[in-house]
């Protein structure tokens, strides 16, 4: 089984970025066994079936994304995986240990970064880190050394003594993640870590997560931002109404749905003469008009674009801006659930 050893000053991660950004994290070995296995999780709150038969597995070094709108059941699912909530039925195993809310077994393997800023505002960053390090059984010396490392990583070393109530939102977010990393967990669970974050801090957070997975840590990442899921996640589970409706890589998910490219061309002049010819092009599924533009759905938008433009020009229209949109997770979600991701 793989295991992590905190703070020994060397790394064996597959990606050198991990050594740079999180020098205390060492993944000693990696085998093919999944690090996380959640099987048939169910959770009901009164009349709401919050989680409905969710199963997933995550390998060491893999970043798994749970993508779904607010209220889809993401937080409930990860709460059960982190051992915070008792499932109505189903099991969770992390690093070979079954996780149960009333047991402390296996908790050291999990780092949790809640969606809320789960830090104490009247304590300094250093005090926050030392407190949680102590809860995870680290000695004072190890805790201080690890806190120093994490403070460097999250860029708060020079403001370590300041009460966190004086921090900016971005700084608090970074500390929130830093606490989750403190004990060098083998699984890091990030629950929508970029909600309410400015673009600069968001990018820094995403880079950090990329570095973590590169270093061998398994990451379970929940979000309702499809761009984040596409950028970070090796595999994605699309969750809606408590059920994982599809799972796979971004490419697998898109191909599974089989959506067409969407070509939108702004035009001036009449397109009536051209639109019939465009519909006749082989590979074009649909062509329609929309607010001084023509929208063409085709299996390969870029390939058919010259022919479409030729028909428009021949028909007397003048072509303006052109936009080709490939199918994305948003479209997949729409296709699978019949609603937009951010509804």
């Amino acid at each position: 089984m793989p295991c992590s050893v905190p703070s020994r000053g060397r790394t064996s991660g597959s990606d050198g970025r991990m050594a740079e950004r999180f020098p205390g994290t060492i993944i000693v070995s990696a085998v093919n066994d999944p690090l996380v296995e959640a099987a048939h999780l169910y959770k009901r709150f009164d009349k709401l079936q919050a989680v409905d038969d969710v199963s997933l597995s995550i390998d060491p070094g893999e970043t798994y994304g749970l993508l779904g709108p607010n209220g889809a059941g993401k937080t409930t699912a990860i709460s059960m995986i982190a051992g915070l909530l008792e499932p109505d039925s189903g099991t969770v195993t992390v690093a070979g240990t079954q996780i149960k809310p009333r047991s402390t077994q296996g908790r050291e393997a999990i780092g949790l970064v809640p969606q809320d800023l789960a830090i104490y505002p009247d304590l300094s960053a250093e005090e926050n880190l030392m407190f949680f390090a102590s809860l995870y059984g680290m000695s004072k010396r190890d805790a201080r050394a690890r806190a120093d490392e994490v403070l460097e990583v999250i860029g708060l070393a020079d403001r370590r003594k300041e009460r966190t109530s004086k921090y900016s939102g971005g700084m608090k977010r970074r500390l929130n993640i830093g606490i989750g990393l403190l004990h060098s967990p083998r699984l890091l669970i990030l629950d929508e870590p970029t909600v309410g974050v400015d673009p600069q801090s968001r990018n820094a957070i995403l880079e950090s997560v990329e570095a973590l997975s590169g270093g061998g840590m398994a990451v379970l990442y929940t979000t309702h931002y499809m761009e984040e899921a596409e950028r970070l996640c090796d595999r994605i589970g699309i969750i809606d109404s408590g059920r994982v409706v599809a799972e796979g890589t971004t490419e697998q998910l898109i191909s599974r749905v089989g959506e067409n490219d969407r070509v939108r061309i702004e035009v001036t002049g009449s397109v009536d003469a051209a639109i019939g010819h465009i519909r006749d092009i082989s590979g074009v599924v649909e062509a329609s008009t929309e607010d001084h533009a023509i929208v063409v759905m085709a299996d390969d938008g870029s390939r058919h674009l010259p022919a479409v433009i030729n028909h428009l020009v021949d028909g007397g229209a003048q072509v303006g801006s052109i936009e080709v949109t490939r199918p994305d997770l948003e479209a997949v979600f729409l296709h699978l659930t019949g609603k937009a991701l951010r509804e």
């Binding site: 909530l85 908790r107 104490y120 102590s134």
Partner: protein
Amino acid sequence: MIAAVRTITVKDMRQRLRDKSFFLVGIVTPFVLAIIFDLVFGGLGGDELEVRAGVVDADQSEISGRLYEGVSAIDGEGGVTIVTFDGDSGTGPDGTSDGELDVRSAIDEQGLDAVIVIPEGFGADVTSGGGQAPRLRVVADPDRPIQVGIVESIADGLVTDIERSRLAAGAGQQLGTSTEPALQEADLDLHREWPGGEGLDTGSRMLAGMVVMFVFFTVSFGVTTLLSEKETGTMRRLLAAPIRRDAILAAKGIVSYVLGALATVILMVAGAVLMDADWGPWLGVSALVLAAVLTAVALMAVVAGIAKTAEGASGVQAIVAVGLAMLGGSWFPVASEGILGVLSQLTPHYWFLEGLDSLAGADSGSVVLPHVAALVAIAVVVGVPATVLLRRRLTP
């Protein structure tokens, strides 16, 4: 588990001691309020409360005469001045409205707090052994509520003793014995009713009342953080950590208890040093304080266990703290009889104040054992459901 409890306790203590509200609400406010109350309602420090009362015998019977003499004999004891009026002279009342006006004039002219009126027929009521119970009337100066309360307590005590004697005589007659109702000298023992007597002096009692009221606010800081941690999200972190959930609960309880005991001790030491308060044997005082704080923690924990939010809990806790304080005698002495008396005895404030009253001037701290036992009993009765309720709060 012990390590986790210690870690959370140290963290919470650090937070609370940094929070100025602990010092403000736990120490400064009760101390300042006690001084203000003492200035308003009585002398500072060990000064006794001065009471000027009058007594009128409108009955002129043998029994009323003995009562009249008995009340008159209190003059000069425990800060009480008794002014006597002759019931036949026309300056005293006879139960008519004109009489009341005379008494009111006497109150104004002679600066009396209240006048005890022995009405006509009092002696006959006492010797009847049945029928109408004998009654005393108290005409009061409404601007002197504390002093009037003391005079009323004297009158209540006298009537109770007389009524007991009268009922015993009545029962004796039914059984064929010939016991005569009597008014004994011992019936006029006023010391047990008296705040300025062997018990606590006025200033100390005011401070003790504020101490036991505000300790409820102080301990509430500790238990309410359980809800705050849920609201801020840190509870999720605590629950995710490799620690037993009961460790969180235990730490919150310990923090509440330590803060409450700390604030109480500081206030009582300050009272002893700055107000010359004589609390009595320190062993008894310590036992009383520790038991009272335990009860306060249990009661505030129940509220925290029921409330949905920290803000809601704080509101209810304030109502409970003030309500119990008023009922338990923290603000003013509460009647020891009737429904109010029973309700008062259900509050920790009552047992704490009564315990301190017993300790003041006592030779041994053991006199407070019944009070400590009552406080611990309340703590256990309330603490068990509180623990169950709070454990349900240990969710993300």
